[in-house]
């Protein structure tokens, strides 16, 4: 028998359209060639992917980035971003060896150090309290030092500082904000540490503090964990339930298809947030229940797309051809229908995560879903809403975080759609 020898068709590089080339290259090359081929921008995917990766890393290791624990009371209330808390600081002459409050301790029997404070300001009592704490520490140490400063009260900051210059007192304790305004008038004095240690410039918070003195930035970073957790797990749960249901309903058809489609359409007909509210209200507040509620919300999304795709793919000739070579039903579902359906699922998955994060934040904003002790953006938003006029940073930054995360996931989904299905763009 003489075999037919087919020569590879000779096609010049110009004649070969990008559509042919598209099929031959892998995903990475496709992303970079996309701009040249059909104007889809690789940087769109790149930026959103970097953002997504960043958020995921923060979600996995918030402790690497967050300066404080999310629920720790670390500073004064309502401290604006980058504002320094008003701390009582020690002012001493430039040549003084004193630096910390502990340096003022003297052996028993020696004259107690004299410290100037201002009347009517809580610095005096703060100094007393802190001195007692240090006294308790040092009196049991070898050397038998005691710290019992003698406190002189003056009418104003200027008078208290003048007392040092006059030699009446060895040091003064005044509020750091006051010192900033008058320090230029006392060039021979310098600022030592605050009475609790550390400089007066320590203790600032990049994004400020909230109504109970928690660090907004730390809560934001720890809140990423909840957002990503809810986004990913509810989308995965929805996918794991919606995709097989859609596949089977589309493939089997008949009564099963009609029944499942009816249930899914009913779910789909509900306004999303209302359904999630109803489910969490019944199940009670916990992360797990929020994930369940949001997953239920998004099962129909996967179901409808997969069922529709299955219905059209199963009528393809290659499925009939597969039957004609003896492939069984499960094999056809596995090897012929599923691989042809899954690309559309991958794309909605990313957009779905963004949606789920938004819904999760919405739920906790309404006070449903998450226990209020958890660091979550929605909860922080709800909290910040009450103080929107006095502390804009409390509501702004969680809001921005939600915006960025949703943007990143949606952008990635859209970008990937364009890379995978360039023809969609032409329509």
């Amino acid at each position: 028998m003489t075999a037919i020898q087919e020569q590879p068709p000779e096609i010049s590089a110009e004649a070969e359209s990008w559509e042919d080339e598209l099929q031959k290259v892998g995903l990475v090359r496709r992303i970079f060639q996309a701009r040249r081929w059909y104007g889809a921008d690789w940087w769109f995917v790149m930026i959103s992917t970097l953002m997504v990766v960043g958020f995921v890393v923060i979600a996995l290791f918030p402790n690497w980035f967050a300066p404080y624990a999310p629920d720790a009371l670390v500073g004064p209330r309502f401290l604006a971003p980058n504002e320094h808390p008003d701390l009582p600081i020690i002012i001493v002459p430039k040549d003084s060896p004193f630096n910390t409050l502990k340096d003022l301790a003297v052996p028993e029997g020696q004259p107690r150090p004299q410290v100037a404070v201002v009347q009517g300001v809580p610095t005096g009592s703060a100094l007393n309290e802190q001195a007692q704490v240090i006294d308790e520490q040092v009196k049991n140490e070898p050397g038998g030092l005691r710290l019992r400063p003698q406190i002189d009260r003056y009418a104003s900051d200027e008078e208290a500082l003048q007392a040092i210059l006059d030699g009446k007192d060895e040091a003064a304790v005044i509020q750091s904000t006051e010192w900033k305004t008058i320090s230029t008038h006392f060039p021979t004095l310098r600022e030592a540490q605050s009475i609790t240690g550390g400089t007066a410039n320590a203790g600032g918070f990049i994004l400020g503090t909230n109504d109970i003195g928690q660090d907004v930035l730390s809560r934001l970073l720890w809140g990423t964990r909840i957002a990503i957790l809810i986004g990913f797990s509810s989308s995965i749960v929805a996918l794991l339930l919606g995709v097989p249901l859609g596949l089977f309903a589309g493939f089997v058809g008949g009564a099963f298809d009609r029944l499942v489609s009816l249930v899914m359409d009913s779910l789909y007909a509900f306004p999303g947030l209302i359904l999630a509210i109803a489910i969490t209200a019944v199940l009670g507040p916990s992360i797990f229940n929020v994930i369940v509620a949001i997953a239920v919300l998004y099962i129909p999304t996967y179901y409808r797309i997969v069922r529709g795709q299955t219905l059209s793919v199963k009528e393809e000739v290659y499925v009939e051809a597969a039957r004609s070579i003896g492939a069984r039903r499960m094999e056809i579902l596995q090897k012929y229908i599923f691989p042809n359906v899954i690309p559309s699922v991958a794309i909605i998955f990313s957009v779905n995560i963004a949606d789920a994060i938004l819904t999760g934040a919405g739920l906790s904003f309404l006070g449903l879903g998450l226990p209020p002790t958890i660091a979550d953006w929605g909860i922080d938003l709800a909290r910040g809403q009450r103080f929107i006029q006095t502390a804009w940073w409390m509501i702004t930054f969680p809001g921005l975080a939600i915006l960025l995360v949703v943007l990143a996931f949606s952008m990635m989904g859209e970008g990937l759609t364009e890379i995978f299905n360039p023809k969609l763009r032409e329509r």
């Binding site: 037919i4 068709p9 597969a322 691989p339």
Partner: protein, 332 residues
């Protein structure tokens, strides 16, 4: 059943359930397919030839079903097998080549996977390497270089894909290949090559081929015998040379007259009057009677039998049969 007959179809009926009612797309058809022959099945669009092809593998799902008759394949009645037993027949005993090679391969599967999957489905013990070797030998015979096995269907031309489809049927040495308009979407050169290939395969593998087509020229070129269908009925079966030289049924006669012939003079081409009947309400009696130039009274009353007119040439026509007495009485 004589030993030289591979597939004996007896009184096969295929029904489609539609909103308007039950349509018999294949109505009480009997046909013998002999071992090692190429049987051409011709007929106009919608006459039921593709339905018959699929029914032979019991591929119908949904609205269509094989509703009656016997499918005696190599001594077994396929109608009696369960749905679970049919996949063992499909591919291994009977293979199929579809009309559109562009869509009949899974776009996300490499060519090699199509072939090895067929082998693994029917011979689960075969190792991957052995299956690959078999596949390579097979496609080389069909004129596809084995390196191309790792490509995806879209990287191949239509003719190559059709050869891949054939190789799927040959991978397990199927006894019968049903080729459903395999060359319709190919251009004439590729079509000619493909038909040559079919003939060579028939000789080399002793393959039996049922070639479904509406192109009577293709049948003349490659088929040993020809079966003509009209309106869900088999109207004539016989040796290609006999039928072409001496068609019995008026429909076959019209069909052959309407083919342009370069050797005859340039007189106007014969045009058959009328249109094929609506199968929901087929005409009473012979289904061809509204269009038949030689119609008789009996044709409108009673359906003729599918009988041998000459040795090895059967026709469904009253012209060659005696009308039963009762009909004549009624007629008179």
């Amino acid at each position: 059943m004589p030993d030289d007959i591979l597939y004996s179809i007896r009184n096969l009926t295929v029904e489609y359930q539609t909103r308007a009612g039950v349509v018999k797309a294949v109505d009480d058809i009997s046909l013998d397919i002999r071992r090692g022959e190429i049987l051409g099945l011709v007929g106009e669009s919608g006459c039921g030839k593709s339905t018959l092809g699929k029914a032979l593998m019991r591929l119908h799902t949904g609205p269509a079903r094989n509703s009656g008759g016997q499918l005696l394949f190599d001594g077994r009645d396929l109608m009696k097998l369960s749905e679970e037993e049919m996949p063992d027949i499909r591919g291994a005993e009977i293979g199929m080549v579809f009309q559109d090679p562009m869509t009949s391969l899974n776009p996300v599967q490499r060519i090699i996977d199509h072939l090895t999957e067929t082998i693994h489905t029917h011979e689960p013990g075969t190792s991957d390497a052995a299956a690959r070797t078999r596949a390579e030998e097979l496609v080389e015979k069909l004129g596809i270089r084995h390196e191309r096995l790792d490509e995806y269907p879209h990287q191949m031309s239509g003719g190559m894909r059709q050869r891949v489809m054939i190789s799927l049927a040959l991978a397990l040495r199927a006894k019968l290949v049903i080729a459903d308009e395999p060359t319709t979407s190919l251009d004439v050169i590729v079509e000619a090559k493909f038909l040559d290939l079919l003939k060579e395969l028939q000789k080399e593998f002793g393959l039996t081929i049922l070639l479904i087509t509406h192109n009577i020229g293709v049948v003349a070129e490659v088929a040993d015998r020809v079966a003509v269908m009209y309106a869900a009925k088999m109207v004539e079966v016989g040796d290609v040379r006999d039928v072409f030289a001496n068609p019995k049924h008026p429909y076959t006669q019209g069909l052959l007259k309407s083919v342009p012939n370069i050797q005859l003079d340039g007189s106007e081409l014969y045009k058959m009057e009328g249109a094929p009947p609506n199968l929901l309400h087929p005409p009473k009696g012979c289904r061809f009677n509204p269009r038949c130039p030689q119609v008789m009274d009996i044709c409108r009353i009673q359906e003729p039998a599918f009988e041998a007119v000459e040795r090895d040439q059967l026709a469904l026509c009253w012209l060659y049969q005696n009308a039963p007495a009762s009909a004549e009485v009624h007629n008179g």
